[in-house]
């Protein structure tokens, strides 16, 4: 057990449903608006990218390594593909995949954490030591070894990310459940003869959902960074599929052609920033204490 657990005394379950009413106010903050606009922008770009890109993203049609110009706004890459088109098409991987990863690890982590927190004792000890074990590895190195074991490819990168990202959910959930378990409404429910499972899913989980959602929002940025980091190391998507991290990695080889890495990197940065802006505002609105555990992890 480490400091990343908010101790139960700190974390009162959110029973005050009136807080939800304050959402609109949070949405009106500049950070939220900026984050929302950026994400909306990328969603539109991704949707447009399905139907139209300036050039085919896989088409090797232009002179290679030409600098940004009127014809190719963001230049071309080392086999003569339009960088702008590839960034647009890259949004099809770099946006949904991390969100999927976060959703899956949220489900997995929350389930394990809830079980650990609610049932305690041996189950708790085993699950928590497992999270310790995962957290004892630097994320990127563990993900590297997992993808090495499974072979590169998007599917395996997702599995690797899943393997490294569930523990933070498990930990937060566990500590929240620990807090909620002792509260009167849960105890009285159990006294009334409600089964453990029912009590967990009906009484406990809904009340701890808000901080988990905050954690997940903040974690999307992390997942984008991790996925692009893996692709950067050549362990993510398989070419010729456009992906932002892989494009940055291509820029390392072609370092004289600054435009390849710069714009792809900016794309990653802007999306991550937007999700972090949103997550930050959400946290303020919902739960000011859930943040600590997200921030201990890194790319």
């Amino acid at each position: 057990m480490t400091i990343t657990d908010p101790t139960p005394t700190e974390t009162a379950p959110i029973t005050d449903r009136r807080r939800l009413v304050r959402w609109p106010q949070a949405w009106r903050r500049p950070l939220t608006i900026i984050g929302g606009v950026i994400i909306a922008f990328w969603v539109i770009v991704a949707i447009v990218g399905i139907f139209w890109t300036p050039y085919p993203p896989l088409g090797q049609i232009a002179p290679r390594l030409s600098a940004p110009s009127g014809e190719h706004l963001l230049g071309t890459d080392s086999v003569g593909r339009d960088v702008l088109s590839r960034i647009m098409a890259g949004a099809h991987v770099s946006l949904p995949v991390p969100i999927l990863v976060v959703a899956l690890s949220m489900i997995l982590g929350t389930a394990l954490g809830a079980i650990a927190g609610y049932f305690g004792r041996v189950v708790d000890e085993v699950i928590m030591r497992l999270t310790d074990l995962v957290l004892a590895f630097p994320t990127i190195i563990l993900a590297m070894v997992v993808t090495a074991a499974l072979g590169p490819g998007l599917q395996n990168a997702v599995i690797a990310l899943l393997a490294v990202s569930w523990p933070s959910y498990a930990r937060v959930t566990r500590s929240l459940v620990l807090g909620a378990r002792g509260s009167e409404y849960v105890v009285s429910g159990r006294l009334m003869g409600v089964s453990a499972w029912r009590s967990l899913t009906r009484d406990v989980l809904p009340n701890i959902l808000a901080p988990i959602v905050v954690l997940a929002t903040m974690d999307i940025g992390n997942a984008i960074l991790l996925l692009s980091g893996l692709s950067f190391l050549g362990l993510g998507t398989v070419p010729p599929t456009p992906e932002w991290g892989a494009m940055v990695s291509e820029g390392v080889e072609q370092f004289s052609s600054w435009w390849i890495a710069t714009f792809a990197g900016l794309a990653i940065f802007s999306v991550v920033l937007a999700f972090n802006f949103l997550g930050d505002s959400l946290r303020d609105a919902l739960d000011p204490r859930a943040q600590k555990s997200v921030e201990g992890r890194a790319v």
Binding site: I3, R129, F137, I141, V248, N276, Q291, K292, E295, A298
Partner: protein, 364 residues
């Protein structure tokens, strides 16, 4: 904890009603002991996980280490497997690995042909120098910024710090490293782009393994300056990244303290602002902040993997990457173990600190 021995309490009469066991009398000792056992188990778990994972890789390490001609010759393959102990059954490999571990023998790397222990010993100080430098700078800045922002909650400064720290940890380290390298080394030529020293310098005589400190100890000012120049860019990348995380945490930690009654009371007593800040706020926030800094060390090591690749830093990160992509089993195990031990030790210290400071924890 020698005090944990039963003989340590001679004045205690065991016949008394409700005779206590030693661990009930020394809850702190018991707490330490349990943590220690858990830590050792965790380290063992780390070796097991790395071993299983690396053996899951559907490939033969000989393929990565042997040339095309040598790989076609069964004798050469056999000789290779014998040399690296790969001819034994997998479970036995693990047992003999643990056996060797007791003697600090981590096996031999197929990539460098060195003992992994020696490789780690030369690579770790490089990473540590980078990580410690970055962490110290980031920690100092983070405490100042976090404190200032929290004390003036809602002010322009607070907003700037908040957005700034979000930007800090939203930046992909590998990309930032690349951009920084491109601008300050490739285009402007202000800083050297790779390695820890210019080629004309020999590393200073090794004492700490930190080139900067060793150079100062040896009185080699020119080497020191050069080492600092090499350190600037990669450290900057890591500082920017870590700063975001730490500043946010410091701000929150201080805000939590500010909400306490005793701070309000101290202020109400009319104590000067600076005194309240120093004596009450900083002191109370110090423990969580220090532990957070300790825990960030592990994530800085992670960030170093990607940064080192760009700046050819020659540390643990680069070593790990090379080991993972070339299936250098012993080296992967070595790195996993090293990082695992660092994490476990830091956590152990953190837990201890909490146990000492917060009696509720050890009673649980």
């Amino acid at each position: 904890m020698t005090a944990a021995s039963p003989a340590a309490g001679p004045a205690h009469d065991p016949r008394q009603e409700g005779a206590e066991r030693w661990w009930q009398r020394f809850p702190l000792a018991r707490y330490v002991l349990v943590r220690l056992v858990v830590s050792v188990l965790l380290i063992w778990g780390v070796t097991l996980v790395t071993f299983v994972l690396t053996n899951l890789v559907p490939s033969n390490p000989a393929a990565a280490a042997l040339g095309e001609r040598a790989a076609s010759n069964p004798d050469t393959v056999k000789a290779f497997e014998r040399q690296y102990g790969l001819d034994q059954p997998v479970p036995q490999q693990y047992v003999s690995y643990l056996g060797r571990l007791v003697h600090l023998n981590l096996g031999q790397s197929t990539q460098t042909h060195n003992a992994v222990w020696d490789d780690l010993r030369s690579a770790f100080p490089a990473t540590a120098e980078l990580a410690v430098t970055a962490l110290v700078i980031a920690a100092v800045l983070a405490i100042v910024l976090g404190l200032a922002a929290a004390l003036r909650r809602g002010s322009i400064l607070d907003q700037v710090v908040r957005v700034g720290s979000l930007i800090g940890f939203s930046t992909p380290t590998f990309w930032l490293a690349l951009v920084i390298f491109y601008v300050f080394s490739y285009k402007l030529g202000w800083f050297p782009g790779s390695g820890r020293l210019d080629p004309q310098f020999d590393p200073p005589p090794q004492r700490t393994g930190f080139y900067t400190i060793d150079a100062l100890l040896a009185g080699q000012i020119a080497v020191f300056v050069n080492a600092v120049e090499h350190l600037v860019l990669p450290a900057f990348v890591l500082v920017l990244y870590t700063l975001g995380i730490l500043t946010r945490f410091c701000r929150t930690a201080v805000l939590e303290v500010l909400g306490n009654d005793y701070v309000t009371a101290a202020r109400a007593k009319g104590l000067p602002r600076s005194a309240v800040t120093r004596r009450y706020i900083l002191r109370a926030a110090a423990v969580p902040i220090l532990t957070m800094i300790g825990l960030t060390f592990a994530s800085v090591l992670s960030g170093a993997v990607l940064t080192e690749t760009v700046f050819a830093w020659g540390g643990i990160g680069q070593y790990a990457y090379k080991a993972a992509t070339t299936l250098d089993l012993q080296a992967i195990m070595g790195v996993g173990l090293l990082i695992g031990i660092i994490y476990v030790v830091v956590n152990f210290i953190v837990d201890l600190l909490y146990g000492v400071l917060d009696p509720r924890v050890r009673d649980r």
